[in-house]
């Protein structure tokens, strides 16, 4: 028994090492979203191109991605080509142009392509605030009933889509929409 006690420091060291090792793979900036499982907040925002004022009822009806982006956001440019790819495959993506200049935003979409079914212009960032957005890019999965199902902070790429987002769109395969 006293011999076993000699190993206590080693055991404590191994435990601590495991804890710290786990810490290496955690992302301290990823926060649990308070909105998952709750309805997307209502809003009245202008569409970027048509300036038509839209509400939540006007955009829901099928599963979609709500992508928060801005021209000042470098990572948004990084994920943009992949969003175009997803849109081409039939995924409905709503853009939320967050705290941005509308003229710049329109030019950006014209130059790089427009993956968005429509783009809401949240110049003041107030819908963003209601959704708990704290940076761009962020991407939310909103289901057909308008309930937020998932939130991804950071760039959406093939790996993120496959492992976290695609499952919410699977039921639609039956309706002839081919997804990756």
């Amino acid at each position: 028994m006293p011999r076993l006690r000699l190993f206590l420091p080693l055991a404590a060291f191994i435990l601590l090492s495991l804890l710290l090792f786990k810490g290496l793979s955690l992302d301290p900036t990823s926060l649990p979203s308070a909105l998952v499982g709750k309805p997307m907040p209502d809003f009245a925002l202008e569409e970027l191109h048509s300036s038509e004022v839209l509400s939540k009822q006007g955009i829901i009806g099928e599963p979609m991605l709500v992508n928060i982006w801005a021209t000042w956001c470098y990572s948004c440019r990084v994920e943009h080509p992949y969003l175009l790819e997803l849109a081409a495959q039939g995924v409905k993506i709503i853009g939320l142009n967050y705290k941005d200049d509308s003229v710049k935003a329109i030019a950006w979409l014209k130059d790089l392509g427009d993956p968005y079914a429509l783009t809401l212009s949240d110049t003041e960032g107030m819908l963003g605030l209601d959704m708990g957005v704290y940076g761009a890019p962020e991407t939310y999965v909103v289901d057909a009933e308008g309930v937020v199902r998932y939130r991804h902070v950071g760039v959406v790429d093939a790996q993120v889509w496959e492992s976290q987002l695609a499952e919410w769109f699977r039921p639609f395969r039956n309706k002839g929409v081919v997804l990756p």
């Binding site: 605030l129 708990g132 704290y134 940076g135």
Partner: protein
Amino acid sequence: MNFCVSMMRWLPVVSLCLTVISANAVIETYEFSEPSLEARYHRLSDELRCPKCQNQTIADSNAPIAKDLRFLLHEQLQSGASDDEILSFMVDRYGEFVRYRPAMDSNTAVLWYGPLLLTLVTLGALGLHLRGRQAIKPALEPSEEEREVLRARLAVRDSNPERQP
């Protein structure tokens, strides 16, 4: 001389240490209809965490999101919202994370009781250790048999004066 040179080398470092880092004070100012509202504003903005720049409160962060939250905080205080209403508004959007003093629930119980538990465990371990040491102590005293042997040896030495130093 050498000493002076080495001191000179450290002078920039020392002077940097003495420089007061000017607090990154928040730029905008808000007007309050009542002084009590202003006091609550300062208290609440010091308790709400900035979601973007974690480990800063919204009072000392310059991030745009912190600015928005301060704006909302001011709006809500002016419109007569209670502290609880304001905090639950923030928690609804950013989760319990946004509070530096999160509410007690199963997720935050470790935060609230962890330190207390750790203190108790440490004190308990210390108590056990000290008791263990006390239990060992009598064993360090010579036993009756050992005393006999020692007495016998002393007697031998005393009866043999030549070997005394």
